[in-house]
């Protein structure tokens, strides 16, 4: 479904990704953990072409991700993304945030797009906020609307870039609950997070990133229970 082949990326002298090889299968839930600056965000952002690798290739469904090519919009339409800072469109209501892409990208008529959006908002638990603008929503509600917005394109895969890091602690649970439901529903998901509980309970595989490399990976039980690397151990001892 998603494939990285020797992907490297640097910002000036800072190495963000240092040779990533990775295959994520359809329906797999993969969680990226690691210290900040380890490359988690960059890894995700290469999947939908928000970042352009210096070398190597990223494939989505066998198609090469090329941010400069015309096909990039098609790839992006099939890969949903949820951001740490939500990035809801502040001038649009929750409903219009969700309907925008289906109407403009897929050409869905308004009535159908709105029916879809209402279902999705209901599904993430903010059905009563359809006509509210983002500035009237709590952080947790914003992020759930953002998830609904991503789901509206019926993406084949979802990217979550630290989706709960900007939330007040009491709102983290409601967002994780939505993500948990998506994961058990068979979605392909790539999640960068510091929520070890989520990684442990929901993911099929955990990647530990350090200085742009996948230092260690495995099923959560193995990685959390018996990490091999010293750096993994050190990191886990701090966050667990």
């Amino acid at each position: 479904m998603i494939e990285f082949q020797g992907v490297r990326k640097r910002y000036g002298r800072v190495v963000a990704l240092d040779g990533i090889d990775l295959v994520i299968r359809k329906g797999e839930v993969v969680v990226c953990i690691g210290p900040s600056g380890s490359g988690k965000s960059t890894l995700l952002r290469c999947v939908n072409g928000l970042e352009i690798p210096d070398s190597g290739e990223v494939l989505v469904d066998g198609r090469r991700v090329d941010a400069h090519a015309k096909g990039i919009d098609a790839v992006r339409a099939e890969v949903g993304m949820v951001f740490q800072l939500f990035h809801l469109f502040p001038h649009l209501t929750a409903l219009d945030n969700v309907t925008l892409a289906p109407m403009q990208v897929k050409g869905l008529p308004r009535a159908r797009a709105e029916a879809l959006a209402r279902d999705l908002l209901e599904q993430v638990g903010v059905g009563d906020k359809a006509h509210v603008h983002p500035d009237m929503l709590s952080g947790g509600q914003k992020q759930r609307v953002a998830i609904a917005r991503a789901l509206a394109m019926e993406p084949k895969a979802l990217l979550f870039d630290e989706p709960t890091s900007a939330l007040d602690p009491e709102m983290v649970g409601e967002v994780l609950a939505v993500m948990r439901a998506l994961a058990t529903g068979g979605r392909t998901m790539l999640v960068a997070t510091h929520e070890m509980g989520f990684a442990r309970e929901v993911s099929h595989r955990v990647l530990f990133l350090d200085k742009g490399r996948i230092l260690e990976q495995g099923p959560p039980a193995a990685l959390f229970g018996a990490p091999h690397h010293e750096r993994t151990k050190a990191f886990l001892s701090k966050v667990l």
């Binding site: 919009d73 992006r76 949903g80 990035h87 469109f89 502040p90 892409a101």
Partner: protein, 253 residues
């Protein structure tokens, strides 16, 4: 309550200054004669209409050309971007009266154009375009990067992202500075007297020269300009305050 008090203070100070200036003028040895200006009131009104007309025309041309220049400066093509930059730098680097002179006595005859109103309005518009382009660019760039990323990551094209996500947010922020530009242009339009457009400045000059009541004529025209710009300025301030509240800060701030 705080606002009422601030308003009272402002009104009192404005009144005091007006009284002071008027008193000083009245007590001076100058022999005031506002009769010629009063007799020319019809001319002044025509001048006012002309000022409003050329300003409005110039502003509309400025908006259209300004958008074009702003889009050029945001283009992905380097030559197009440079052309836009060059335009803004050239126009902003010269006094308007120099451009007007070149336009009217240089370019216009070259292309066989002999209408001072057309040349004047066009020059005013092309002048305003450089400043309006900057306002547009600043407005577009003030929309946080995450908005574009969110839009593009949903599969929206560059154009759709601009149209449905960036511009609706940017235009709101452009309205107060655009009002400011309209005020500036109202004042700038006074230079059209130089090529013979009979607007406010020109009327007061003629009245002054004809009747020797020069001082009075210019005081009257000063008041006319203030009557146009002051309400606009109040409007700009109100818009700034209201839009500032309606448009929320970036979500993470």
């Amino acid at each position: 309550m705080g606002r009422d008090r601030a308003f009272g203070v402002r009104a009192a100070i404005t009144g005091a200054v007006v009284l002071l200036v008027a008193g000083a003028l009245a007590l001076s040895r100058y022999r005031w004669d506002f009769a010629p200006a009063w007799q020319s009131r019809a001319l002044f009104l025509e001048g006012l209409l002309m000022t409003l007309g050329v300003t409005a025309g110039g502003f509309l041309i400025g908006l259209a050309a300004g958008i074009a220049v702003a889009l050029a400066r945001l283009s992905r093509s380097l030559p197009v971007r440079h052309l836009g930059d060059l335009y803004v730098e050239l126009i902003r680097g010269m006094p308007f009266i120099v451009q007007l002179t070149i336009a009217y006595w240089g370019f216009a005859p070259l292309v066989g154009l002999d209408n001072k109103y057309v040349v004047g309005i066009a020059a005013l518009g092309l002048f305003a375009a450089a400043y309006i382009a900057e306002i547009f660019r600043a407005g577009i760039e003030s929309v946080e990067r995450g908005q574009v990323e969110a839009a593009r990551s949903l599969g929206l094209t560059r154009k759709s992202a601009l149209r449905f996500v960036i511009l609706p947010q940017a235009t709101k922020r452009m309205i107060p500075p655009l009002t400011g530009e309209l005020i500036a242009l109202t004042k700038e339009s006074s230079l059209l007297f130089y090529i013979g457009v009979v607007e406010l400045m020109s009327v007061s000059r003629q009245t002054g020269i004809r009747t020797y009541a020069t001082f009075e004529a210019y005081l009257v025209v000063a008041l006319f300009y203030l009557c146009v710009t002051f309400p606009l300025s109040l409007l700009a301030r109100r818009l700034e305050r209201r839009l500032g509240q309606a448009a929320p800060l970036p979500e993470h701030l």
